[in-house]
Symmetry: C2
Subunit: 205 residues, 2 copies
């Protein structure tokens, strides 16, 4: 198990990675389970990247595994997930939102949007998954829509209603808790064709 | 900086990650530099995945960054590098070989070949980069060739001559030390076309 970036805690304690360290990980676990199912069905090959860590000290005890004794979380240079589906390159970031009114723009780093924009430019499929934990709703947002909002927004957050207008609710099942490929099929692979020419629908509705 | 999997050292010491910890990293650094150049030119978006680590304990000191105090190296579930080039999904593993006669098959995990095979099946471009450090030669091997060898080999290593027959020597320049996209252009994007139908030349020569 890996942990997410700690959210600015100031307490001075050492903790085993338990429930506190797993905050915000329910979505990650659901996506990982979904990706594992896609992989087992041979539908898609999409994985979460490991949490980037800067390793400073490593202990090599006799007869046991190397132990990292000093390391630090590092800013990720890209997004958390990527892979391949129906011949297309897939790239996305996933975030939970605890608010019931708006999604803070700072949840997504500017360089992650720059990365998603580059993916679009090179013909990939780029998007963001946002879960509104209070509503138990998980939205698929094409990266283009998120980037447009970012470029033109006068505020620091995105209201809930915007997600309903600019995103798609992702269906959920027991084996595929975040079945986002259903949305991809509708938006990028409709009419039985692999639209591998890199052209994509920009609008959802 | 991150370190590679330690190669079974048994000494009981704690070390800062210096030259010893960087062994086998010259190729990684060369590929990272090349990828950074591709990114800066906007030619391709290809990144190394972070080294997978299982985090056990995290210390949150007052007024400073969270410090990981116990973590272990984890077996990677996929390959080290992936991304997008000319609309195609790219996926590869890179290895250095210190021998001057043969490349040990165990350098590449079976599940990594399974992963590369899945990438091919879904229409991506999958390959392996192997540097023969003694010859200062870096070869591009289509994953299909490596998988075929693995499936049919009666020995535990691949002789040097096989690489000359089944791979392509990757050109090198100061800004692009491992310019593997030149090989991709020749093998997968010849005749000015993006062969995004997933068909690939299986033979090099």
């Amino acid at each position: 198990m890996t942990v997410n970036y700690p959210n600015g805690k100031k307490n001075n304690w050492t903790a085993a990675v338990t429930s506190a360290g797993r905050r915000g990980m329910a979505l990650e676990q659901d996506i990982n389970a979904t990706n594992a199912f896609y992989l087992s069905e041979d539908t898609a090959v999409i994985h979460k990247k490991p949490t980037p860590v800067t390793i400073v000290k490593v202990d090599y005890p006799k007869r046991s595994a190397a132990k990292i004794t000093e390391a630090y979380f590092k800013m990720p240079s890209t997004t958390d997930y990527n892979g391949i589906y129906k011949g297309r390159y897939i790239d996305f970031e996933a975030k939970e939102c605890a608010s019931s009114t708006s999604f803070p723009l700072k949840s997504i780093h500017a360089h992650q949007l720059v990365h998603l924009d580059a993916v679009l430019r090179h013909g990939g499929i780029a998007f963001v998954i946002v879960r509104w934990t209070q509503f138990e709703e998980t939205y698929f947002i094409p990266a283009k829509n998120m980037i447009n909002y970012w470029n033109t927004a006068s505020r620091h957050s995105i209201p809930y209603a915007w997600f309903q207008e600019n995103g798609c609710l992702i269906p959920s099942s027991y084996v595929k808790p975040v079945d986002y490929l259903k949305i991809l099929d509708r938006l990028y692979f409709e009419k039985g064709g692999n639209t591998s020419n890199g052209k994509e629908k920009e609008n959802i509705q």
